[in-house]
């Protein structure tokens, strides 16, 4: 999972200089959009159909067409704790990522000077190393006898006396994995901001806190929203961090979907859960679109 360069997701789309619609534009669009329609949209419809299938009466373990809405009821009543946990873990990770990404994005946008492009490369660079291996490396870093755990234990900060195989490690891992997704949109929106506005705030004797809360923060809102979406969504669906860094008590909805699909082959349950996750995400995305339109999405 490499970080996206969502820098452009907050760039304005200049409409002047565009040619009027001609038929040839569809020749450019159709191949790629057809690929997305066939291998993204249709699979989602298939997923929905699969989520309503019922078990075959003649061949147990196989599923046939049906409209079994109870699949959803069953799946949700059995797995709602994992759903809640996914949203809590992803929410915590997003919040922590926002708090630590903001100073870095601010520094790169306004203070880095000639170091700016090098620092941006350094933000993206970690994703050149395998995402699975980096997550696995946290197992070493957070190990029970390791430096992190012993320091936190010396300060009596850990209720269980350990980090690895607890929810703390999962949230830490999620924060780490998706941090670049928060940094880049924040940087993009801060970079578009006129630094003179911040200076003006200071010139008018506003305290640094007040300048931040009344000028910088509101103006960086597009980046905050984009970064929050791009961090929260993949974090809520992730199962790698929970699998490698957590215990059986820290399973997230991604783990449930994965095991039900690939190990238990309980396709209707897995599809129902996957579809509910998609629906929850869609609500978030449409909330964003109602606020900002679609032109800045891509």
């Amino acid at each position: 999972m490499a970080p996206v360069l969502p820098v452009a997701s907050v760039a304005p789309a200049p409409l002047e200089g565009q040619k009027r619609s001609s038929r040839s534009v569809y020749l450019l669009l159709i191949p790629g959009l057809a690929w997305l329609a066939v291998f993204f949209v249709i699979p989602l419809l298939t997923l929905f159909m699969t989520s309503l299938q019922k078990e075959s009466a003649t061949k147990p373990g196989t599923y046939v067409f049906g409209i079994q809405v109870s699949n959803y009821v069953d799946a949700l009543s059995e797995y709602w704790p994992q759903f809640v946990r996914s949203f809590v873990y992803a929410g915590l990770a997003t919040l922590i990522a926002l708090v630590i990404a903001y100073p870095l994005a601010y520094f790169i946008a306004f203070k880095a000077g000639s170091w700016r492009s090098l620092m941006l490369v350094l933000v993206v660079a970690p994703s050149f190393a395998s995402f699975l291996l980096r997550t696995y490396a946290w197992k070493t870093i957070l190990a029970d006898e390791g430096p992190v755990t012993s320091t936190l234990n010396a300060l009596h900060l850990l209720p269980d006396g350990r980090v690895l195989n607890t929810g703390i490690a999962v949230v830490a891992g999620l924060t780490y994995t998706f941090l670049p997704f928060m940094i880049l949109p924040l940087y993009a929106s801060l970079d578009r901001m006129d630094y003179r506005l911040i200076e003006a705030g200071g010139d008018l004797y506003a305290s640094p806190v007040k300048v931040f809360s009344r000028v910088t923060w509101p103006l960086s809102m597009p980046g905050v929203v984009a970064g929050t979406l791009l961090t929260f969504i993949p974090a809520a669906g992730d199962f790698i961090n929970a699998e490698l860094l957590g215990s059986a008590k820290d399973r997230m909805i991604g783990n449930v979907i994965q095991t039900n699909f690939i190990e238990f082959r309980d396709y209707p349950t897995a599809s129902a859960l996957s579809f509910v996750l998609m629906a929850a995400i869609l609500i978030l995305v449409f909330g964003y679109i109602r606020r900002s339109g679609t032109e800045d999405l891509v």
Partner: protein, 265 residues
């Protein structure tokens, strides 16, 4: 106190960058470890074995090559398709713009587990055999959007007067495209292709759902995580990391030199 206040943001920024690199330091360091158990999780003894015998463990190098192949082919397809869409979005006004934007955005906003499972649902219902083809189809699907974003940014940043100048100098549409537009957009396309390759090469979740018995490099790592990851995997991942970093820093250096050369002219 004033010094701290003045440099607080910078200090946090540096700490966050260090934090981003801690796991990478561990990955590289443990490629030089001689693990004392089958799990390469705690430091035992310095060794160059993994580096001198990169393919010494069965399956490592073949899965690595599988990922390289899949990455090259999917990047080529996705870059062509995505670049075409980016041109359409920046250069034309057309009906269906909103749905196009949405269709491009949704794969980036959908959790990988949903995309992986829904494609698997499709392939299962069609009884389509899982393997290299299904993994490549899946990769192209989720990479197109990132290519569109990267190329679109480059196109929007282009000075339209350069193309107008070409037309003023009696270049036809084809010549303008070949000699002006395309060379100017090329860095964006190359960047998009590099991003696409790294996304494909490192993708685990979507591939895992649709691979069947095919073993890509990330799928190999996932399997090995249960029974112990050999240090060869760390060595190969370190090589990829260093190569990618060298390419990006090299490109930065070239554009920095060019800008300085232009400025001093």
């Amino acid at each position: 106190m004033r010094w701290i206040r003045k440099n607080l943001v910078g200090a946090i920024a540096v700490l966050v960058l260090i934090y981003l690199f801690i796991p990478i330091a561990v990955v590289i360091a443990f490629s030089f470890n001689q693990p004392d158990s089958k799990f390469n999780l705690s430091w035992n003894e310095f060794s160059l074995d993994a580096w001198s015998q990169l393919c010494g463990v069965p399956g490592v190098c073949s899965s690595f090559l599988t990922s390289v192949q899949i990455g090259l082919i999917t990047t080529l397809i996705a870059t062509v398709l995505g670049t075409m869409i980016a041109f359409a979005l920046v250069r034309y006004r057309f009906r269906g713009r909103t749905s196009t934007n949405l269709l491009i955005f949704m794969p980036m906003a959908t959790p990988e587990v949903v995309m992986g499972s829904s494609l698997l649902a499709l392939f299962l219902n069609l009884r389509f055999p899982l393997g290299t083809v299904t993994v490549m189809i899946a990769h192209v699907m989720f990479i197109i959007s990132f290519v569109v974003v990267a190329v679109k940014a480059r196109l929007q940043g282009m000075d339209p007067r350069l193309e107008e100048a070409a037309r003023d100098l009696y270049a036809g549409p084809a010549a303008t495209f070949r000699h002006v537009t395309f060379p100017l957009v090329l860095p964006g396309i190359v960047g998009a292709a590099l991003l696409g390759f790294s996304l494909s090469f490192d993708d685990f979740i979507i591939s895992f759902f649709n691979a069947g018995t095919l073993v890509t490099f990330p799928i190999y790592i996932w399997g090995a995580a249960q029974r112990g990851i050999p240090p060869q995997v760390n060595a190969l991942a370190s090589l990829v990391f260093i190569a990618a970093l060298a390419i990006v820093l090299g490109a930065q250096l070239v554009s920095w030199r060019r800008r300085r050369a232009l400025a001093s002219r």
